[in-house]
Subunit: 636 residues, 2 copies
């Protein structure tokens, strides 16, 4: 196989602008206005090529709105507006392409996730297509659904009897009378490791002198490093300068809110990073590309934040954009005096300002003075609105009414039985559906769900109680990560506003005497171990067979980064370990019914509950091999 | 293109058994037990070939459980058990095939939706594959997600450099020393109209003498007729006998419960229907196939139910199976005295028996004696448990507590304002989250959501109030369809148990004086028109541009099957029509936030809210052309 390495010194110098826009999904009018304004500004700066992200016109996450033909024609008319505006400049942008003469595999009009190229008011032909090219690799894991909505370049090749080599051609762009061969591809096209084809390879072999990758790539905590590695490994084989343009903003599919961090990057031909745009910043930057190297007019250094800071920035941005799209900036939050609501409140303060945060403590007889004091102290420290709304009387009245109620059926009479768990859940629902919902409605505000991922996984929350809320900012973070975030907040953002008692007390729901925090009685969860276990179930896609096998072979603690002896300390016998493992697997599986009715989660991990991790109410299953290992372990 | 028509008279006579099993998704142990038992029985009946549905071993709707490698290996071991059991018989079944040496496009082990063929304890080779073949056409519309989880035969062809003609080969089955060429395909492979390839054509051209299509095909109201038409149109071109085997049961993806009706069918080579299994019935039937015709040992006539009966059967089946999988058969239902809860209660009685249904009327001062009387009469007629739980005092107390509450922030004090809407919603939440949830928990039961599709679309329900419930049996039916179902129930199922007052009164939420049913003040919805409008939005995938264009051109009434003059009667001016249209579009789009937190819906229509219709919280958008038509219409 002959490798055609483009000589970078042969292409004409040009200035590229990367327009890292905040794209509003489902509003091509707003997006096109921004695009046209950026084109106009770029012309004044004498930019040669301006690049916009994937699906910059319609947005990327639209549910099934692609099936609305009027909307599709509307997008087309905006594409034409952009093309017309390309006088004296080259514009590369992402949008929908519809072929009204062909059917997609859903029987509707055939649609493509396309990149458009226009110069001087006309679409530029690359020999295969006039002014556009199609996405070749279609992501369909996690939250991605490209195969559902769009026909791929591969399917186009199959139906037209051509191969990718004939279809993935660079666009010849005129730069002051000289031709620049620009290879254009879309997002997943550079993540080709798991696919049969490598679009970048094809484009380079077809003579592309520079690659433009337009993306709409949701952020995942600690993902950017991986993108750089992927780009560098590609460019090591096919050295060519690459412009990667990603959007900022948030987009959602209901159950999940995804953050788009931008991080648009210019890579040199050797894969080194020339320039990176700031996280979550709507900005356009110009890069002059001439001879073999690239020179940025305005040198942009690596500004990526690291680890917890990156997480913090993402959450703040997600909250801010979520509320910007609401008619209100006011938010109500229940403050229990525990860690989750404390972190949630601190984030809301940073995202919306303390004047918009209304906190309520809703004690019963089971709430300790420790947590009540902590809630009050936190509110005071954060300078937010605060009120105490005791619910004991209302809970008592509900219990008494329920106890006095009976059904009749002919001569048959049925009275109700109130177990302790039933009474605990009455408290939670009184808080979530009576007080918080009532107060938020009265204020014209919304209220948050403060649950973490550990509890969301295990269903350690009450449906129509603490499962409620308009948004769940923390539900993609395990309990241990909440503590890390709390410490980061105290140190860097809110000046130790979270009282130390909240950081040190044992986590507890405080719904009964058995959960007396002052006696150290907390949640029935061993967070350091169970966080890891759930992460294995959810993010690693493992099951009890895998876990028990690690336990049997003695590799569990090292795999889970736990100290030696940790497991045995909590689970003295194999039977203890297995009982807990099975209980956790069952809780995780069975409690999906609560997640079905849970609010939108800001996705930060590699696998968020909701549309990212698809589940079904199929009960609990243990593999044959699990049952075999269990037998072996118990009889060892 | 040469058409090779197989001469049906040339194949050896054989007996085929169609095993229309109730498949339990996610439980290969249970399913394999059933499969092995059926094989054993079939051998005794001297059956030559027994056919099981698509994904008969693992089930079809499993969320992302396919990503659990232990589970995949577990499925493989069950496949081998079935193969071993094929001594003296040929078994065709659907299951997963994993290629551990290859990656899928998600970077995980490559998996296929496969059909297996085994005879005499060994996998049968067709020259291309040893004992299995892959699904070629991958549905990814509506609730389908095949591309997400499985590698297709088309992708296999692409990566192996082969074409379908080389890969879709019939399996040579030994029938008493003679060879029968059996073409095996999966579900969507016969729905090839919208795809580039036609697997049946390829199989027939490759010499298939009989086609076996194994399916796991969810039911949609009025879909079976379409399947017969599709099959007949295929067989008209490629005349070959076809065995279509589908499962029964329900499977879900959380937000939707799908009904699998079976309706396994044997088609003669001319497309005529030879035999059909009963709807929702777990049954196995044998068909003797010899010479040019087919003879059923036990002649099975067309037993399909029609229209409302079909709908009724589906809903009853869905409810019954849903409750069978719960630890309880008891259900609590709020009876308002309106039509939705009446129909829901009647269905529950038919599905679970009156002894399991616990109905509660929860009146406030706004509930009329008309509806209160109707609720009581209905409960009496249905012979269900009944109780009255007045909520006025609790609602008053909540309102008074909220009015007395204030937030403090330094010297700033914020008191709450209670609008009439806020007070209405307090009633709804008191019913849904305090009373119904409390009573259901005390009884160890679940409670239903009684909302219909019209209200679900418009958000005409209160979150944490009447949006609550464990299952929403009616949320895929428009209000008009609920009335049709009520009449059917009264005539055929519950002996006029639904009082005529419920059928004739104006629908109303009865949450305020403005909704006084006795003064004829009902919901702000014109059901005959708005049902159609919402159906256009949801099922036809249309938007206001399309609707307004019909209004302008005078085709709206005929398209909506409304009498001439109906629109003008309710909307005297174009402005009236447009205001309503925009209001409805906004309500439909904005109120998605409630659907995110709504319970599972039994899917019956061509597009159910949930996982079937994917949505995003993207606000409201009107196309440019809509705005243009609006201007034209208003200035006409």
């Amino acid at each position: 196989m002959k490798r055609v390495i483009t000589d970078p010194s042969s292409f004409p110098a040009f200035t590229a602008a990367l327009a890292q826009l905040n794209i509003t999904a489902g509003h091509p009018d707003i997006n096109t206005q921004k695009i046209l304004a950026e084109i106009s500004l770029a012309k004044k700066r004498k930019v040669d090529v301006i690049v916009f992200p994937e699906m910059a016109v319609p947005g990327y996450l639209l549910g099934d709105e692609w099936e609305n033909d009027s909307f599709v024609r509307d997008i087309e008319s905006f594409n034409d507006e952009i093309c017309k505006a390309s006088t004296g400049i080259t514009v590369v942008w992402g949008s929908l392409f519809a072929d009204w003469n062909q059917k997609g595999e859903d029987g509707r009009v055939r649609k493509y996730n396309a990149a458009y190229v226009a110069q001087n008011g006309r679409y530029v032909s690359n020999g295969a297509f006039s002014g556009h090219t199609f996405k070749t690799l279609m992501p369909k894991y996690r939250e991605f659904d490209d195969e559902r909505h769009f026909y791929s370049m591969l399917k186009y090749a199959h139906q037209s009897g051509k191969n990718l080599r004939q279809l993935l051609l660079p666009f010849p762009i005129d730069i002051n009378g000289k031709t620049l061969e620009v290879g254009v591809m879309l997002c997943e096209d550079m993540w080709s490791d798991d696919y049969q084809d490598n679009p970048l390879e094809v484009l380079v072999k077809n003579g592309a002198q520079v690659i433009i990758n337009i993306s709409s790539s949701p952020w995942t905590w600690r993902k950017n490093d991986k993108r750089h590695r992927v780009a560098q490994s590609l460019l090591a084989k096919y050295p060519v300068p690459m412009i990667y343009c990603n959007n900022v903003g948030t987009q959602n599919n209901g159950k999940n809110i995804f953050l788009f961090d931008g991080n648009s990057t210019v890579y040199n031909a050797d894969g080194s990073i020339r320039a990176v745009a700031k996280d979550y910043s709507e900005e356009t930057f110009d890069v002059v590309m001439r001879d073999s190297a690239m020179h940025s007019d305005e040198v942009i250094t690596l500004s990526q934040s690291k680890d917890i800071e990156e997480l913090y920035n993402g959450l703040i941005y997600g909250l801010r954009v979520f509320f910007e799209k609401l008619p209100t900036q006011k938010v109500v939050i229940g403050l229990s005096g525990g860690i989750d609501s404390a972190v949630s409140a601190a984030l809301l303060v940073k995202a919306l300002g303390p004047e918009n945060v209304f906190a309520i403590n809703m004690p019963t007889e089971y709430n300790s003075s420790l947590t009540r004091g902590a809630a009050s102290e936190l509110a005071h420290n954060l300078k937010i609105h605060y009120g105490i709304f005791p619910i004991q009387r209302s809970v008592d009245q509900t219990i008494s009414e329920l106890k006095g109620f009976s059904f009749e059926r002919g001569y048959e009479r049925t009275t109700l039985e109130m177990s302790p768990l039933v009474m605990e859940n009455i408290q939670a629902r009184d808080r979530g559906s009576r007080v918080l919902a009532g107060i938020a409605a009265s204020l014209g505000a919304v209220f948050t769900n403060n649950g973490n991922k550990t509890e969301t996984a295990l269903g350690y929350a009450t449906l129509y109680g603490d499962v409620n809320g308009a948004i769940a900012p923390l539900a993609d973070l395990y309990k241990g990560q909440i503590y890390q975030l709390a410490q980061y907040l105290n140190q860097h953002c809110v000046d130790n506003a979270i009282p130390s008692s909240i950081l040190t007390m044992v986590p507890s729901a405080e719904l009964s005497k058995d959960q007396d925090i002052e006696k150290g009685k907390g949640d029935p969860i061993n967070y350091p171990y169970h966080d890891r276990l759930l992460q294995a179930f959810i993010e690693w896609r493992r099951d009890p067979e895998y876990i028990l096998d690690m336990y049997r072979t003695g590799t569990l603690e090292s795999e889970f980064s736990l100290e030696v002896g940790y497991i045995e300390k909590f689970f003295p016998t194999a039977q203890d370990f297995i009982s807990d493992l099975e209980r956790m697997w069952k809780l995780y599986k069975i409690n999906y019914f609560k997640r079905i009715q849970a609010p939108p989660i800001i996705a930060v991990s590699k696998r968020a509950f909701g549309f990212d991790l698809r589940e079904a109410q199929n009960g609990v299953y243990f593999t044959k091999k699990y049952l075999k290992i269990k037998k072996d372990v118990l009889h060892a």
